[in-house]
């Protein structure tokens, strides 16, 4: 989101904050549906900047239809809820005919007949799912579909293939296909919100939200581009609450937005100038300045991410929705486990809930008895590898995940070993202080060194960078 978009959203959100809760909910829904189009950047593949947001909306409807509470389904009621949302999609499609006045989508939307055809198709699928299909199978199917799309978008070679196919469909040059063509803004977060709902449904937790509420949750515009990944039950209870704007909320939200803007547009964007990049990693000389670039990257990525989160939290606050915290001073933590409890908290919790806990539970209760340390190691490697690959299916993101998995494992074993010994430090506050300081130093630098894998595109360059960092 650009600063201009944030300022517009902030102003509208502030005004909407004064509305009655019912009207505020309408604002959140309509605002989110329109914002999805407005935020989406232009793509080289024709009309994709219209189809990506439209697909976000349609997938959301599909997941809602699969997981909604009314069983046996009330098709008429469902369609009644879906039609206003689909109507907004068609209206956005109609902006094609406004000529230069139009400014909602990055480029002109496609022919309206295509939009109407797609909308009709989704409405029919929705009706069929609700009326005929076994919901469990549908949930599994949608889950697999979401993961497949996610993997396709995050894997360079697959994304390139998909881009070539889409280019062919649009009659564009396939040779120019690039993974960067498929910039589907907010999909990573949307997919994980929807996967959470689908998994909960499979585990028997049925959600009772209306389609409007569910769409507001999945596409909530302040959290669309950088999270946090909220829980649907929590979000919808906030959406339904009768919270009214108060001086505390006004000030709290405003402070959070201003702080976020400062973090993102002043600190992060300034640090970005000198932060480690594939370009300067090759050019930098070994030694102290290489460390300066790396530290700049480390701080930049935090301020960038935390800044966006602050803005989302502030806007949410004004709309009566208390989004979960995503960062709680992670760089001040004294061990890696504490770091991961305060860095991208909602993503880490997601993986803990839907991967780490089920996996370790399965390993513990499995037929083969495994030692605890091995269960932890397998769980942590699996979880951190997936967190790494969530950013992109590359060797470097995998290496970043493994780096943290090993760090977490070593910390786990170390803390088990030191716990009884540390109790002897109770009477020595200075020693405890020094131990904490040492822990902070090691944690911060371990995390910062890990960013080498994250910031650079290939293993060779990362290893060369490590060599530069440790050559004096």
């Amino acid at each position: 989101m650009s600063l201009f978009q944030i300022l517009i959203f902030s102003m509208l959100t502030l005004l909407a904050g004064w509305l009655r809760p019912r009207w505020r909910a309408y604002f959140v829904l309509t605002g989110s549906l329109l914002a999805v189009y407005w935020i989406q950047p232009a793509t080289p593949v024709r009309h994709l900047d219209f189809w990506f947001p439209t697909a976000s909306i349609f997938i959301t409807i599909l997941v809602w239809a699969t997981t909604c509470q009314n069983n046996p389904p009330n098709v008429r009621l469902a369609l009644k809820q879906a039609i206003p949302i689909i109507a907004i999609v068609v209206l956005v499609g109609l902006t094609r005919y406004l000529g230069t006045v139009c400014c909602l989508t990055a480029t002109r939307p496609p022919e309206i007949t295509q939009v109407i055809a797609a909308s009709l198709l989704v409405t029919i699928i929705l009706a069929i799912i609700l009326a005929r299909f076994n919901r469990s199978y549908t949930a599994l199917l949608v889950l697999v579909l979401l993961i497949a799309v996610f993997i396709c978008l995050k894997t360079e070679s697959l994304a390139k293939l998909a881009s070539a196919a889409l280019r062919r469909l649009q009659g564009q040059d396939m040779l120019l296909a690039s993974p960067l063509d498929l910039r589907w803004l907010g999909f990573s977060y949307l997919a994980f919100r929807l996967l959470h709902v689908l998994r909960d449904f499979q585990l028997g937790k049925v959600q009772g939200a209306s389609l409007g509420e569910f769409t507001s949750y999945a596409l909530f515009f302040p959290a669309l581009t950088a999270g946090p990944i909220d829980r649907s039950q929590r979000f919808i209870s906030d959406l339904r609450s009768e919270t009214r704007m108060s001086p505390e909320i006004l000030l709290d939200g405003g402070q959070r937005i201003l702080l976020g803007i400062f973090k993102k547009f002043v600190l992060a964007d300034s640090l970005a100038i000198m932060a480690l990049s594939p370009q300067n990693a090759v050019q930098t000389a070994p030694g102290i300045w290489a460390w300066v670039l790396l530290y700049a990257y480390s701080l930049r990525i935090y301020f960038d991410f935390a800044g966006y989160t602050d803005i989302a939290l502030g806007m949410g606050r004004w709309l009566g929705i208390k989004l979960p915290e995503n960062f709680t001073a992670p760089y001040f933590k004294t061990n890696l486990t504490a770091f991961w409890n305060s860095w991208h908290i909602t993503l880490a919790q997601w993986f803990r809930s839907y991967f780490f806990n089920p996996l370790t539970r399965a390993l513990r209760t499995g037929r083969i008895s495994l030692p605890v340390w091995l269960i932890i190691l397998v769980g942590q490697i699996g979880t951190m590898l997936l967190i790494g690959l969530w950013h992109g299916v590359t060797w470097n993101f995998a290496a970043w995940g493994l780096w943290h998995a090993l760090g977490l494992f070593v910390h786990n074993r170390w803390s088990d070993w030191t716990r009884p010994r540390m109790s002897s430090l109770e009477g020595y506050p200075t020693m405890r202080h020094l131990a904490n300081l040492g822990g902070w130093f090691l944690t911060f630098n371990y995390v910062t060194l890990g960013w080498v894998w994250f910031a650079l595109p290939d293993i060779g360059l990362s290893l060369a960078m490590f060599q530069k960092l440790f050559s004096f």
């Binding site: 001086p247 006004l250 100038i273 000198m274 300066v292």
Partner: protein, 372 residues
């Protein structure tokens, strides 16, 4: 908490902002801020004045604040050492070192020769070239540079810097109207102090909001200092560049001037002002080397810049004027082989620059001996 308290907070916030905006307009702290620099303190000073077409790749910026530009230069690192024979090199992009790494530029190559004077002082050359061809721009740079106690000034020039229509066009000149006007008046230059190209800031332009871009540039420039320190890069040099034009157009035109060139056609008054500005500091004027084409229509033009008639007239006029005024002048116009030029008729390869550096160092040693 009540809405009244919230309003009070907002009122105080906006009041404070308005105060800063007014204070900024009133005090115009930009020049003073320009002098605050991490260069020469936290990071090494730059080897040449900052100039960049692509800041993100060059780790540098084209600034208009001469204070900030000089504060970032190694020349501002500290007082002159007792054993230093300080030579300031002013001029255009050839002096600055376009398409050359900092350590390959003319000043660096002169320093690399490790020359010393008979009295033991070591030759230390500073690159104050700037990539625009205009004698007025050179004069402006020189007016700032004089505070750094030069022992000698070397001023490589070429004909393209002389026409009057080139004098006030560089953005660096246009964004420094006050010092440039001062020079025009002080030396009675035949330039218009009310030239419409001079940037005239309005009251809004002088406010904090109006100055946000130069202010942001100053901050960005400091941050690029870290990358300069880390990489030693201050210019984006593409892997391949278009070569200088060998086959030339069948066109004898040079600006809107007609043969023969006369004194009044060229800004000799600016050159004269530079000599006056230098005062007791000796100045060596050098007609810089250029590419001499052997291609099509090379009987009409020497290269892309110059028709033969204009360049020949210019050399004659410059030599005559130097002799008349008693200026120390050297003409190296064809001293470097043609294959040592890169993308234009004046930009040289590292090897060509090294040859030129040797000629200049020798000339300086000879001239300083003669000067004694």
């Amino acid at each position: 908490m009540s809405y009244r308290q919230v309003l009070r907070i907002l009122f105080k916030g906006f009041g404070l902002l308005a105060f800063f905006i007014l204070l900024f307009s009133y005090t115009n702290p930009l020049p003073a801020l320009g002098r605050i620099s991490i260069y020469n303190h936290i990071v090494p000073g730059r080897l040449r004045l900052p100039y960049a077409d692509d800041p993100q790749r060059a780790y540098s910026l084209s600034l208009f604040s001469l204070d900030a530009m000089f504060a970032s230069h190694q020349l501002a690192a500290g007082p002159k050492r007792a054993d230093e024979f300080r030579v300031l090199l002013i001029g255009d992009s050839a002096t600055w070192g376009f398409l050359l790494r900092p350590e390959e530029s003319l000043s660096a190559q002169m320093n690399a020769l490790g020359a010393a004077l008979p009295d033991g002082r070591r030759l230390r050359v500073y690159n104050l070239g700037y990539p625009v061809m205009s004698l007025s721009k050179d004069l402006l740079v020189l007016s700032y540079a004089m505070r750094y106690q030069p022992d000698w000034i070397v001023w490589p020039v070429t004909l393209e810097s002389f026409p009057y229509d080139k004098q006030l066009f560089p953005p660096l000149v246009q964004h420094n109207p006050a010092p440039m006007r001062d020079l025009i008046q002080r030396f009675g230059l035949k330039l218009d102090p009310r030239d419409p190209g001079f940037v005239q800031p309005t009251l809004f332009d002088q406010s904090l909001i109006g100055q946000r871009r130069p202010l942001a540039d100053l901050i960005r420039f400091q941050l690029y200092g870290i990358l300069w320190a880390a990489t030693g890069i201050d210019q984006d040099i593409p892997a391949s560049n278009p070569q200088r034009m060998e086959d030339l157009p069948n066109d004898p035109a040079f600006h809107d001037l007609r043969p023969p060139l006369e004194y009044k056609d060229l800004a000799f008054d600016v050159l004269e002002a530079g000599m006056a500005l230098a005062g007791d500091t000796p100045v060596l004027i050098v007609n810089e080397p250029m590419f001499v084409s052997q291609g099509a229509h090379s009987d009409i033009r020497y290269n892309f810049y110059y028709p033969r008639w204009a360049y020949d007239d210019y050399r004659r006029l410059l030599a005559e004027q130097s002799a008349r005024q008693g200026w120390l002048y050297l003409d190296f116009w064809d001293a470097i082989p043609s294959d040592q030029f890169t993308n234009t008729a004046i930009h040289m390869t590292p090897a060509g620059t090294r040859m030129f550096a040797r000629l200049l160092v020798q000339a300086l040693i000879d001239a300083s001996a003669h000067d004694k």
